[in-house]
Protein backbone atom coordinates (compact mmCIF):
# COMPACT_ATOMS: atom_id res chain seq x y z
CA UNK A 1 0.00 0.00 0.00
CA UNK A 2 1.17 3.51 -0.81
CA UNK A 3 2.81 5.13 2.25
CA UNK A 4 0.55 8.17 2.09
CA UNK A 5 -2.60 6.04 1.91
CA UNK A 6 -1.29 3.85 4.74
CA UNK A 7 -0.71 6.91 6.92
CA UNK A 8 -4.16 8.20 6.03
CA UNK A 9 -5.63 4.84 6.96
CA UNK A 10 -4.16 5.15 10.44
CA UNK A 11 -5.88 8.53 10.83
CA UNK A 12 -9.17 7.10 9.55
CA UNK A 13 -8.96 4.19 11.99
CA UNK A 14 -8.38 6.56 14.90
CA UNK A 15 -11.12 9.04 13.94
CA UNK A 16 -13.74 6.39 13.20
CA UNK A 17 -12.55 4.20 16.09
CA UNK A 18 -12.34 1.15 13.85
CA UNK A 19 -9.08 -0.82 13.99
CA UNK A 20 -9.87 -2.96 10.95
CA UNK A 21 -10.95 -0.13 8.65
CA UNK A 22 -9.25 -0.31 5.26
CA UNK A 23 -9.24 2.48 2.73
CA UNK A 24 -8.03 3.09 -0.79
CA UNK A 25 -8.34 5.98 -3.22
CA UNK A 26 -11.81 4.84 -4.25
CA UNK A 27 -13.13 4.98 -0.69
CA UNK A 28 -15.79 7.63 -0.20
CA UNK A 29 -18.13 8.77 2.57
CA UNK A 30 -20.64 6.21 1.29
CA UNK A 31 -18.26 3.34 2.17
CA UNK A 32 -17.28 4.42 5.68
CA UNK A 33 -19.88 4.20 8.44
CA UNK A 34 -20.21 7.45 10.36
CA UNK A 35 -18.42 9.63 7.80
CA UNK A 36 -21.00 12.40 8.08
CA UNK A 37 -20.45 16.16 7.94
CA UNK A 38 -19.36 16.41 11.57
CA UNK A 39 -17.03 13.42 11.38
CA UNK A 40 -15.62 14.94 8.19
CA UNK A 41 -14.53 18.01 10.15
CA UNK A 42 -12.86 15.85 12.84
CA UNK A 43 -11.18 13.79 10.11
CA UNK A 44 -9.77 16.77 8.25
CA UNK A 45 -8.51 18.39 11.46
CA UNK A 46 -6.83 15.08 12.44
CA UNK A 47 -5.24 14.81 8.97
CA UNK A 48 -3.94 18.37 9.22
CA UNK A 49 -2.33 17.52 12.55
CA UNK A 50 -0.87 14.22 11.35
CA UNK A 51 0.62 15.60 8.15
CA UNK A 52 1.49 19.06 9.43
CA UNK A 53 -0.54 20.84 6.77
CA UNK A 54 -3.43 23.27 6.72
CA UNK A 55 -6.08 23.01 4.05
CA UNK A 56 -7.16 26.27 2.44
CA UNK A 57 -10.79 27.32 1.98
CA UNK A 58 -10.52 26.20 -1.64
CA UNK A 59 -9.18 22.77 -0.53
CA UNK A 60 -12.04 22.40 1.96
CA UNK A 61 -14.58 23.29 -0.72
CA UNK A 62 -13.15 20.60 -3.00
CA UNK A 63 -13.44 18.09 -0.13
CA UNK A 64 -17.16 18.76 0.32
CA UNK A 65 -20.01 16.86 -1.34
CA UNK A 66 -18.76 14.67 -4.17
CA UNK A 67 -15.19 15.42 -3.10
CA UNK A 68 -15.70 13.73 0.26
CA UNK A 69 -13.46 10.79 -0.62
CA UNK A 70 -9.96 9.44 -0.10
CA UNK A 71 -8.93 10.12 -3.71
CA UNK A 72 -9.44 13.87 -3.30
CA UNK A 73 -7.62 13.82 0.03
CA UNK A 74 -4.64 11.98 -1.49
CA UNK A 75 -4.51 14.39 -4.42
CA UNK A 76 -4.51 17.42 -2.12
CA UNK A 77 -1.92 15.91 0.22
CA UNK A 78 0.34 14.98 -2.72
CA UNK A 79 0.15 18.55 -4.02
CA UNK A 80 1.12 19.84 -0.60
CA UNK A 81 3.91 17.25 -0.35
CA UNK A 82 5.27 18.42 -3.69
CA UNK A 83 5.16 21.96 -2.37
CA UNK A 84 7.10 20.80 0.69
CA UNK A 85 4.19 21.37 3.02
CA UNK A 86 3.84 17.95 4.63
CA UNK A 87 5.44 17.29 7.98
CA UNK A 88 6.49 13.86 9.17
CA UNK A 89 4.93 13.76 12.63
Amino acid sequence: MDKLVADLQEVFRRVFDEDELEINEATSAANVGGWDSMAHISLIVAIEKRFGVRFTASDLASLAGAGQNVGTLVKLLRAKTAAGGVGSS
Binding site: A39, I41, L60
Partner: protein, 200 residues
Protein backbone atom coordinates in the same frame (compact mmCIF):
# COMPACT_ATOMS: atom_id res chain seq x y z
CA UNK B 1 -51.74 51.01 16.13
CA UNK B 2 -53.48 48.20 18.01
CA UNK B 3 -50.34 46.15 17.66
CA UNK B 4 -48.26 48.94 19.20
CA UNK B 5 -50.71 49.28 22.06
CA UNK B 6 -50.76 45.54 22.77
CA UNK B 7 -46.98 45.36 22.51
CA UNK B 8 -46.60 48.20 24.98
CA UNK B 9 -49.06 46.58 27.37
CA UNK B 10 -47.05 43.37 27.29
CA UNK B 11 -43.51 44.76 27.33
CA UNK B 12 -44.02 47.65 29.71
CA UNK B 13 -46.74 46.32 31.99
CA UNK B 14 -46.61 42.53 31.54
CA UNK B 15 -50.29 42.43 30.62
CA UNK B 16 -52.38 40.91 27.82
CA UNK B 17 -49.74 38.28 27.11
CA UNK B 18 -51.94 35.85 25.11
CA UNK B 19 -53.13 38.80 23.02
CA UNK B 20 -49.55 39.94 22.50
CA UNK B 21 -48.55 36.51 21.24
CA UNK B 22 -51.59 36.22 18.96
CA UNK B 23 -51.69 39.75 17.56
CA UNK B 24 -48.03 40.74 17.47
CA UNK B 25 -46.54 37.29 16.84
CA UNK B 26 -43.25 38.32 18.46
CA UNK B 27 -40.07 37.08 16.82
CA UNK B 28 -37.13 35.69 18.75
CA UNK B 29 -35.60 39.05 19.57
CA UNK B 30 -38.92 40.53 20.70
CA UNK B 31 -39.74 37.51 22.84
CA UNK B 32 -36.28 37.59 24.40
CA UNK B 33 -36.86 41.21 25.32
CA UNK B 34 -40.18 40.27 26.94
CA UNK B 35 -38.44 37.51 28.92
CA UNK B 36 -35.61 39.85 29.91
CA UNK B 37 -38.15 42.22 31.44
CA UNK B 38 -40.78 39.85 32.81
CA UNK B 39 -39.54 36.28 32.47
CA UNK B 40 -38.31 36.07 36.06
CA UNK B 41 -35.09 34.42 34.99
CA UNK B 42 -32.31 34.48 37.56
CA UNK B 43 -30.23 36.38 35.04
CA UNK B 44 -30.62 37.23 31.41
CA UNK B 45 -28.35 39.19 29.09
CA UNK B 46 -29.05 41.42 26.13
CA UNK B 47 -29.14 40.86 22.38
CA UNK B 48 -30.73 37.40 22.74
CA UNK B 49 -33.16 35.67 20.41
CA UNK B 50 -35.57 33.21 22.04
CA UNK B 51 -38.53 31.76 20.19
CA UNK B 52 -41.89 32.07 21.99
CA UNK B 53 -42.19 28.27 21.72
CA UNK B 54 -39.10 27.79 23.90
CA UNK B 55 -39.99 26.26 27.27
CA UNK B 56 -38.10 27.62 30.26
CA UNK B 57 -39.63 25.51 33.00
CA UNK B 58 -37.72 26.92 35.99
CA UNK B 59 -36.74 30.50 35.15
CA UNK B 60 -35.68 31.23 38.74
CA UNK B 61 -32.77 28.79 38.35
CA UNK B 62 -31.87 29.69 34.80
CA UNK B 63 -29.09 32.04 33.75
CA UNK B 64 -28.79 33.17 30.13
CA UNK B 65 -25.89 35.24 28.85
CA UNK B 66 -25.68 37.82 26.08
CA UNK B 67 -26.55 37.19 22.42
CA UNK B 68 -27.86 33.70 23.17
CA UNK B 69 -30.08 32.19 20.49
CA UNK B 70 -32.60 29.52 21.55
CA UNK B 71 -34.73 27.56 19.09
CA UNK B 72 -37.81 25.68 20.31
CA UNK B 73 -35.89 23.93 23.06
CA UNK B 74 -36.73 23.01 26.65
CA UNK B 75 -34.84 23.96 29.81
CA UNK B 76 -35.70 21.95 32.94
CA UNK B 77 -33.97 22.55 36.27
CA UNK B 78 -35.96 20.15 38.44
CA UNK B 79 -36.66 16.43 38.57
CA UNK B 80 -40.41 15.84 38.59
CA UNK B 81 -39.95 12.27 39.82
CA UNK B 82 -39.65 13.45 43.42
CA UNK B 83 -43.41 13.97 43.62
CA UNK B 84 -43.97 10.30 42.82
CA UNK B 85 -41.20 9.28 45.23
CA UNK B 86 -42.86 11.26 47.99
CA UNK B 87 -46.30 9.78 47.27
CA UNK B 88 -45.05 6.21 46.99
CA UNK B 89 -42.11 6.11 49.41
CA UNK B 90 -42.66 9.20 51.56
CA UNK B 91 -39.19 10.34 50.61
CA UNK B 92 -38.33 13.99 51.14
CA UNK B 93 -35.87 14.64 48.36
CA UNK B 94 -34.79 17.82 46.62
CA UNK B 95 -33.65 17.57 43.02
CA UNK B 96 -33.16 21.06 41.63
CA UNK B 97 -30.04 22.33 39.87
CA UNK B 98 -29.30 25.44 37.82
CA UNK B 99 -28.84 25.82 34.09
CA UNK B 100 -26.31 28.33 32.80
CA UNK B 101 -26.08 29.29 29.17
CA UNK B 102 -23.05 31.49 28.62
CA UNK B 103 -22.65 34.24 26.00
CA UNK B 104 -23.11 33.59 22.26
CA UNK B 105 -24.58 30.10 22.53
CA UNK B 106 -26.98 28.61 19.99
CA UNK B 107 -29.41 25.86 21.03
CA UNK B 108 -31.28 24.07 18.24
CA UNK B 109 -34.85 22.91 17.79
CA UNK B 110 -36.07 20.24 20.20
CA UNK B 111 -32.95 20.18 22.38
CA UNK B 112 -33.45 19.53 26.09
CA UNK B 113 -31.11 21.03 28.70
CA UNK B 114 -31.31 19.49 32.15
CA UNK B 115 -30.48 21.01 35.55
CA UNK B 116 -26.84 21.11 36.56
CA UNK B 117 -25.55 21.88 33.09
CA UNK B 118 -23.54 24.82 31.80
CA UNK B 119 -23.20 25.46 28.10
CA UNK B 120 -19.84 27.16 27.58
CA UNK B 121 -19.46 30.41 25.68
CA UNK B 122 -19.80 30.24 21.90
CA UNK B 123 -21.08 26.65 21.82
CA UNK B 124 -23.68 25.08 19.54
CA UNK B 125 -26.17 22.53 20.88
CA UNK B 126 -27.60 20.58 17.95
CA UNK B 127 -31.28 19.94 17.31
CA UNK B 128 -32.71 17.21 19.53
CA UNK B 129 -29.67 16.96 21.79
CA UNK B 130 -30.35 15.99 25.40
CA UNK B 131 -27.75 17.72 27.53
CA UNK B 132 -27.05 16.13 30.91
CA UNK B 133 -23.48 17.32 31.40
CA UNK B 134 -21.76 20.67 31.06
CA UNK B 135 -19.80 21.39 27.92
CA UNK B 136 -16.74 23.63 27.54
CA UNK B 137 -16.65 26.85 25.53
CA UNK B 138 -16.66 26.55 21.74
CA UNK B 139 -18.13 23.03 21.65
CA UNK B 140 -20.50 21.46 19.16
CA UNK B 141 -22.79 19.07 21.02
CA UNK B 142 -25.18 16.53 19.56
CA UNK B 143 -27.21 13.44 20.37
CA UNK B 144 -28.86 11.80 23.34
CA UNK B 145 -27.06 11.76 25.68
CA UNK B 146 -25.37 14.79 24.16
CA UNK B 147 -21.69 14.46 23.33
CA UNK B 148 -19.11 16.96 22.19
CA UNK B 149 -18.52 16.09 18.53
CA UNK B 150 -16.29 18.96 17.53
CA UNK B 151 -15.18 22.53 17.96
CA UNK B 152 -17.00 25.54 16.55
CA UNK B 153 -13.70 27.05 15.35
CA UNK B 154 -13.09 24.01 13.13
CA UNK B 155 -16.64 23.93 11.83
CA UNK B 156 -16.50 27.62 10.87
CA UNK B 157 -13.66 26.94 8.40
CA UNK B 158 -15.72 24.25 6.68
CA UNK B 159 -18.96 26.17 6.57
CA UNK B 160 -17.20 29.25 5.18
CA UNK B 161 -15.52 27.14 2.49
CA UNK B 162 -18.82 25.43 1.61
CA UNK B 163 -20.64 28.78 1.45
CA UNK B 164 -17.99 30.18 -0.89
CA UNK B 165 -18.67 27.33 -3.31
CA UNK B 166 -22.43 27.87 -3.48
CA UNK B 167 -24.01 29.36 -6.63
CA UNK B 168 -25.44 32.20 -4.50
CA UNK B 169 -22.17 32.92 -2.67
CA UNK B 170 -22.09 36.52 -3.94
CA UNK B 171 -25.46 37.27 -2.34
CA UNK B 172 -24.39 35.72 0.96
CA UNK B 173 -21.22 37.82 0.92
CA UNK B 174 -23.37 40.96 0.81
CA UNK B 175 -25.96 39.85 3.39
CA UNK B 176 -25.96 41.52 6.81
CA UNK B 177 -26.87 38.99 9.50
CA UNK B 178 -28.39 35.57 8.94
CA UNK B 179 -31.60 36.67 7.20
CA UNK B 180 -32.48 39.51 4.88
CA UNK B 181 -36.15 39.53 3.78
CA UNK B 182 -35.32 41.65 0.72
CA UNK B 183 -32.79 39.11 -0.48
CA UNK B 184 -34.84 36.02 0.36
CA UNK B 185 -36.94 35.64 -2.85
CA UNK B 186 -33.82 35.57 -5.02
CA UNK B 187 -32.02 33.26 -2.60
CA UNK B 188 -35.04 30.93 -2.56
CA UNK B 189 -35.11 30.81 -6.35
CA UNK B 190 -31.39 30.05 -6.62
CA UNK B 191 -31.54 27.41 -3.89
CA UNK B 192 -34.55 25.65 -5.42
CA UNK B 193 -32.83 25.55 -8.81
CA UNK B 194 -29.73 24.10 -7.20
CA UNK B 195 -31.56 21.60 -4.97
CA UNK B 196 -34.40 20.50 -7.27
CA UNK B 197 -33.22 21.67 -10.73
CA UNK B 198 -36.24 23.99 -11.11
CA UNK B 199 -37.57 26.87 -9.03
CA UNK B 200 -41.22 27.24 -8.00
Amino acid sequence: MIRDFVERLALEHNRALPLYKRVCRPDGKQWAEYLRRHGNLYQMGTGCSILPSTRIIDPAYTRIGNRVCLGSCTLICHDGAIEMLYQRHHLRIDRVAPITIEDDVFVGEGAILLGGTTVGEGSIVGAGAVLRQSVPAGSIVMGNPAKVVGKVEDMIRFWEAESMGLPWAELIAKREGAFDPAMEPELRRLRQEYFFKTAR
